[in-house]
């Protein structure tokens, strides 16, 4: 369902600080699986995820998503694809400070013009799913690490994505919470979601739930 053909991403092209982040990757990822990208920092796994998650466009090569090419889409449409297809979980959580948990969960759906009432209901249900219902109107600055993580997951799910992208999700979590995180991912996977994780945490790539581990170094795939 996701196909990458000879993908390259170069930052600052033609300048002295030119940097090749992804160096000609061919890859095909199948649906309903948990795929983990592992490798040291700077190996290009985060950049690869942002290309797949249509957050940035590759310098060269083509990306197909559900057999549709997204490489040459202008930003306006790329964003629409991103909003409808992907849910993101970031390393630093990236919740918006000062807003409550439920407001954070609702934020990704604002531009789609959904009625506030039904949106709030859906956000509340998602928080409830992760046992966060009673904290819905608490500002996210006051939540613990585990609670923040769960709000982040709820936010990633608000637009009904088919693919979830997580970048170093357990970097700021202890062992117990990391296990909890993988359990949630396993559950979501069983519901039919495709999950892509970039991580160098052995807890994740050694987890029995993971279907496939791709190892990267210097912008290339070294083991598949």
């Amino acid at each position: 369902m996701i196909q990458l053909q000879n993908i390259k991403k170069v930052f600052h092209m033609g300048k002295p600080n030119e940097f090749v982040a992804i160096d000609g990757i061919d890859l095909s990822i199948s649906s309903h699986q948990i795929t983990v990208f592992k490798g040291p920092s700077g190996s290009g796994k985060t950049t690869l995820l942002s290309l797949i998650g249509s957050m940035a466009r590759p310098t060269a090569g083509r990306i197909f998503l559900f057999d549709r090419e997204i490489t040459s889409l202008p930003e306006r449409f790329l964003t629409e694809v991103r909003r409808k297809t992907f849910g993101f979980i970031f390393q630093q959580f990236n919740l918006i400070k000062g807003l409550t948990a439920i407001e954070n969960v609702m934020t990704p759906a604002y531009p789609s013009g959904e009625k506030r009432g039904s949106l709030a209901k859906r956000a509340y249900e998602l928080l409830n799913l992760f046992g966060m219902a009673q904290k819905a109107s608490v500002r996210v600055d006051w939540l613990s690490g585990g609670e923040t993580q769960r709000v982040t997951i709820a936010r990633a799910l608000i637009n009904h994505p088919s693919i979830i992208i997580a970048d170093e999700p357990t970097a700021h979590l202890d062992t117990k919470l990391s296990i909890e995180f993988m359990d949630i991912m396993g559950k979501l996977n069983q519901e039919g979601k495709t999950i892509l994780i970039a991580s160098h945490d052995p807890m994740i790539h050694e987890s029995p739930l993971v279907h496939r581990v791709i190892e990267m170094r210097d912008g290339k795939i070294i083991r598949n």
Binding site: M13, R57, P58, T59, A60, S72, L73, P74, E75, F77
Partner: protein, 332 residues
Amino acid sequence: MILHPAILALSIGSILISLMLILSAYFGLLILKKWDLKSGSEVQLSLERKTYLISTVMAYAFSFQVLSFFLFIYTADHLSPLFSGAMCAAGTLNVNRWGYPTFLLKMINFLFAGLWLIINYTDNRAYDYPLIKWKYGLLLFAVPLILAETIIQTSYFLGLHPDIITSCCGALFTPEKQGITSSLIALPRLPLEVLLYLGAGLSIGEGVVFYWKGKGGWLFTFTNGATLIVAALALISFICLYIYELPTHHCPFCILQSEYRYIGYPIYMTFLGSGVSGIGVGALMKARSIESLKEIAPRIQKRLVIFSLLCLTIFLIISGYQMAFSNLKMVF
């Protein structure tokens, strides 16, 4: 120059908008030269970002154009007591030779900015931006016109000296004198009236055909445009008379005053609204054959047709109402 707040506001606004438009035109030129959607290069990415700036600038320019059009007329109206001979905007605009050109350019630029936004709206709905070259070509055409408006408007304001004696609507819009305005007034009423209702009928017919069959977009644009020109002539020639209830007053500006319950505002707005959406219909004909716009363009055109006809109908109803319920009865 008169240091009136509205004059300062109009001048400053126009100059600022013009500066932004110069920047936009420069970016537009870059886009025309280097646009390549297939490329993921940083140049292309930065061009794509620039399209957002240009769209925003044009949207603001358009809103400014609409509001400044009315503020301009209102100001001219408001300043008329300062000029001997001026009783309304018609006289103030006639104080020097830049008044009427400014007024005319404001209307033309309103149409251009509106048309650009219609095309931009359509283009942004197609994933490959198929109208991009056309759109920025139009931008490069429209920007000099808006710049010209700024310059001419400034010359007009600079040439306003309160001791100038001018001739106003009474003198300008009287049939006895020679000149363009008086020949406009002297236009025979019956053929004009027939043309107006014929044109309106045709526009509505063609609009309906276009709505259902999707054919004759250009025809609609032309008929609608011609009808509006006839409507403008008719307004000066005879519709005004009923509004003023005076058999000799032809001024197209006094209808904006409170004495006539600001009836001029809906008249002008529906007139301009019908014009810009009518032109939009024709302009989008080309987009119908483009693969990525095949479904989108007709949908937008349909909305434009409806809007255009709605405006035209309201225009006719207002003017018809004024004529039917006026205390002025004319035999001709």
